[in-house]
C-alpha cells in the first residue's frame, strides 16, 4: 500500500469516551488528539486510570460497554474508524491494526495451543491452508526470538514463561503484517531483563516489518528508551505532547516534569528515594473545574482553577496544557537523567 507522507498513519482528533455510571455519563477520555506517523513509535504515558487503555480500545473499536459513547475522529490512513460498520472494522482489526495486551498470562485462550491461536488469526484474514498458516506462524515465532518455534507452537499458554508468551503474543499481533501495532503495557507484567528484550523487539519492528507502534506505558523510562514522540495523559486529558527529545529536555507541564523526576537512572548509583508525586489523580467523576493536575501541582495558582487549560504550543509539534508557558514563567529545561536513545 502506498504511504502518503502528508497523511499520518493514524490520526486521532478530539477523541472523547464516556461511560454511563449511576445514571449519568462519566467522561473518561476527553478531547484527546494525536497522530502516529508511518514507521513511528508514539509513547502514551500516564498513571493508572488515566485512560490509556480506554483510548486504545476506542481506536480498535473494542469498546462494547452498553451505553458507552465514543465521539471525535480516528482516522487510519485517512479512513474514519469511529462509526465504521462492525464488519469492516473487524476486517481491519488484527490485519491492519493489531494489539497486544498487558498480561500475557491471561491474554491467550487457555484451552488452545499457541500455534492454533496464531493460525486462527492468520486464517481469519487470509485464505491460507492450515499448513501454510502454520508455516507462517512458526516463521514469525522464530522472528520474534522464540527458540524452537515449532515446538512452542504446539504448546499451551500455561506451559510457557511470561517472556515467551509475550513474544508469542507479539508474533500473533504481527502475523498478518499490521501497519499499526498498539501495545498496551506490553512489559509491565514481565521482569526487568525480559522487559528490556521485549522493548528491543518492539523497537526493531519498524525496521523489519515497517510497523508503527503506539506504545502504552506508565513508565517514562520505557518511553525514553523507545519512542520518537511522547503523549502524556493525565486524568483522561492530554497534559503534554511532543517529540520525545523536546518533552524530555524541555517539559512544559509540571506533571511531565514530575514524571521525569521519578525515573530511576538506569546507570550510576540509584538515589535513596525517588521523588514520587504526592497525592492521587482525581476520580473521573470528581475532576476539578480547572486543571485536573491542580490539586497536586506545586505551581498551582488562581489562573489554573477556572477552566481546563488549553494546549499551548511550545515548539514544533510540542505543546502542553498548562498556563505557565503562556504566563511567561515556563519550567526550566532539564538535562535528561537518561540519554534519549531515540533521535
Amino acid at each position: 500500500m502506498q504511504a502518503d507522507p502528508a497523511i499520518p498513519l493514524l490520526d486521532v482528533r478530539d477523541l472523547c469516551v464516556s461511560f454511563p455510571a449511576r445514571g449519568r455519563m462519566v467522561p473518561i477520555v476527553e478531547h484527546v488528539s494525536f497522530s502516529v506517523p508511518e514507521a513511528g513509535i508514539l509513547g502514551l504515558v500516564g498513571e493508572s486510570g488515566s485512560g490509556k487503555s480506554v483510548t486504545a480500545m476506542a481506536i480498535m473499536g473494542l469498546i462494547d460497554t452498553p451505553g458507552a459513547q465514543v465521539s471525535g475522529s480516528v482516522r487510519f490512513r485517512g479512513r474514519e474508524l469511529v462509526g465504521l460498520p462492525p464488519r469492516q472494522m473487524r476486517r481491519l482489526r488484527g490485519r491492519d491494526i493489531a494489539m497486544i495486551f498487558q498480561d500475557p498470562m491471561t491474554a491467550f485462550t487457555p484451552v488452545y495451543t499457541i500455534g492454533w491461536q496464531i493460525d486462527e488469526q492468520i486464517r481469519a484474514h487470509e485464505r491460507l491452508s492450515r499448513t501454510q498458516a502454520r508455516a507462517r506462524t512458526v516463521r514469525i515465532l522464530g522472528d520474534m526470538g522464540v527458540p524452537d518455534p515449532e515446538r512452542v507452537a504446539g504448546r499451551y499458554p500455561h506451559q510457557l514463561s511470561g517472556g515467551l508468551r509475550q513474544r508469542a503474543m507479539i508474533a500473533m499481533a504481527l502475523s498478518c503484517n499490521p501497519t499499526l501495532l498498539i501495545a498496551d503495557e506490553p512489559t509491565t507484567a514481565l521482569d526487568v531483563t525480559v522487559q528490556a528484550q521485549i522493548l528491543d523487539l518492539i523497537r526493531s519492528l519498524r525496521g523489519t516489518y515497517g510497523s508503527s507502534v503506539l506504545l502504552i506505558t506508565h513508565d517514562m523510562g520505557v518511553v525514553a528508551q523507545t519512542c520518537d514522540a511522547t503523549l502524556v495523559l493525565y486524568s483522561g486529558r492530554v497534559a503534554e505532547t511532543g517529540p520525545s527529545g523536546r518533552v524530555f529536555g524541555h517539559p512544559g507541564h509540571p506533571y511531565t516534569a514530575a514524571l521525569l523526576d521519578s525515573i530511576p537512572p538506569l546507570y550510576g548509583p540509584r538515589p535513596d528515594r525517588l521523588p514520587a508525586i504526592a497525592g492521587a489523580p482525581p476520580q473521573p467523576v470528581e475532576r476539578p473545574p480547572g486543571c485536573a493536575f491542580g490539586p497536586r501541582c506545586a505551581h498551582v495558582h488562581a489562573a489554573c482553577t477556572t477552566a481546563p487549560p488549553a494546549l499551548a504550543p511550545l515548539g514544533p509539534g510540542h505543546a502542553a496544557a498548562c498556563v505557565l508557558p503562556a504566563e511567561g514563567t515556563p519550567l526550566p529545561p532539564r538535562t535528561p537523567a537518561w540519554g534519549n536513545t531515540c533521535p
Partner: protein, 323 residues
C-alpha cells in the same frame, strides 16, 4: 497406574462408608424390625424365631452387615425382605437398562437445549430474548418434576389422548428397544422431556452466567482484537472454555440420575427402572433392595467422577499438566 489404584481405593472407601451408613440408619429406624415383616402379621414366636435365625437377625450387627455384603457382592443371592425369594441383584440388572435409556435420552435433550439457550441468551445479553429465555429457565427449575409428569400424563393419556396431537402416545410403561425401536421411542419421548426440563433450566442459566463472566476475560478481548467474528469468539473461545465447568456439573447430575435419582420420573411414568425399585424399597423399608440400589448408585457416582476427570484432561490442558 497409581492414579488408577488410588481411584479404586477411593471407590471402595466410598462404598464402605455409604453401606455402613445405610445399614446403620436402617437398624436405627424404629419400626423397621425386619423379622416381624418377613414372618407376617400375628406370627407365632416360634416362626419369628425361625425367621430371625434364618436371616441372621440374632447375630450381632457387624456380622449381619458382613453377611449382607457377602450375599450382595460375592454370592449375589441376596433376597428381598418384602418379597420373599426375590433375588435383588438380577432385579437391579433388569432395571438398569431402563434407567440408562431414560437418563441418556434426557441428558441428550438437556445438553443440546441448554447449550443452545445459554449461548443465545449470552449472545443477546440484556435483550428481551435473554430475559425471556432465563425466565423460562427459572420456570423449568421451579416446576416439580413429579407434578410436571402428572400433568403430562393427564394431557397425553386422558384429556387430549384422542386428538391427533397425542394419539401416538402409548400407555404408561416401558417398551424394550429390542422389542420395538419405535415403541421404545414413543414410550420414552415424554419422560425424557419431563426429566430434562429442570436440568435445561439449571444448565442454561449456569452456562449463560459463565459465558457472560468469560466475556470480560482478557483472552476474549484478545480474540476480538484478532478480528474474529462475534460468533466465533463466543463459540470457539467462550463456549469451549466454559465447557470445562459444564462437564463437571453434567458428570455429577448424570451419575446420580443413572444411579436411581430419576426416581420420581420413573414412578410417574411407570418405568421399571432403578429409581422405581428404590422408591418401592423405601416405601416397604426393604433393606436388601435399598442397600443394593444405594451401592449401585454410589458406584455410578464414583465412576462418573472418574469419567469427568478423564474428560477434564481432554478439555483443559492445564489439568493435563498438573496431573
Amino acid at each position: 497406574m497409581t492414579a488408577l489404584l488410588r481411584r479404586a481405593g477411593q471407590t471402595l472407601l466410598v462404598l464402605l462408608g455409604v453401606s455402613v451408613l445405610v445399614f446403620g440408619v436402617f437398624f436405627a429406624t424404629p419400626g423397621a424390625d425386619p423379622t416381624a415383616r418377613i414372618a407376617g402379621r400375628n406370627a407365632s414366636p416360634q416362626t419369628m424365631e425361625k425367621v430371625r435365625h434364618e436371616y441372621g437377625f440374632d447375630r450381632p450387627l457387624p456380622v449381619q452387615y458382613a453377611i449382607m455384603m457377602k450375599k450382595l457382592f460375592i454370592t449375589r443371592d441376596l433376597a428381598s425382605y418384602a418379597n420373599r425369594g426375590e433375588r435383588v441383584v438380577p432385579e437391579i440388572m433388569q432395571a438398569a437398562p431402563v434407567t440408562a435409556c431414560l437418563v441418556c435420552g434426557a441428558a441428550f435433550i438437556w445438553v443440546t437445549v441448554s447449550i443452545a439457550m445459554g449461548t443465545v441468551a449470552a449472545a443477546m445479553k440484556d435483550t428481551w430474548v435473554d430475559r425471556g429465555l432465563m425466565m423460562l429457565g427459572l420456570v423449568g427449575i421451579s416446576i416439580p418434576v413429579f407434578w410436571l409428569g402428572e400433568v403430562a400424563n393427564l394431557v397425553t393419556q386422558n384429556r387430549y389422548h384422542d386428538t391427533w396431537l397425542f394419539s401416538w402416545v402409548p400407555g404408561l410403561g416401558y417398551v424394550p428397544f429390542s422389542q420395538s425401536p419405535l415403541g421404545w421411542l414413543r414410550a420414552l419421548v415424554i419422560p425424557w422431556t419431563v426429566l430434562a426440563v429442570m436440568f435445561i433450566g439449571i444448565y442454561s442459566r449456569v452456562l449463560r452466567t459463565d459465558l457472560v463472566t468469560l466475556a470480560g476475560e482478557d483472552f476474549m478481548r484478545t480474540a476480538r482484537a484478532k478480528g474474529l467474528s462475534p460468533a466465533r469468539v463466543l463459540l470457539w473461545h467462550g463456549l469451549r472454555t466454559s465447557m470445562v465447568t459444564f462437564v463437571s456439573l453434567f458428570g455429577m447430575d448424570f451419575a446420580q440420575l443413572v444411579g436411581g435419582g430419576a426416581l420420581l420420573t420413573e414412578v410417574v411414568f411407570g418405568l421399571p427402572g432403578v429409581g422405581r425399585l428404590t422408591y418401592r424399597a423405601l416405601t416397604t423399608l426393604d433393606l436388601p433392595v435399598i442397600m443394593a440400589t444405594v451401592m449401585y448408585s454410589a458406584v455410578f457416582v464414583v465412576l462418573a467422577n472418574a469419567a469427568v476427570d478423564v474428560v477434564y484432561l481432554f478439555l483443559d490442558p492445564r489439568v493435563r499438566d498438573a496431573g
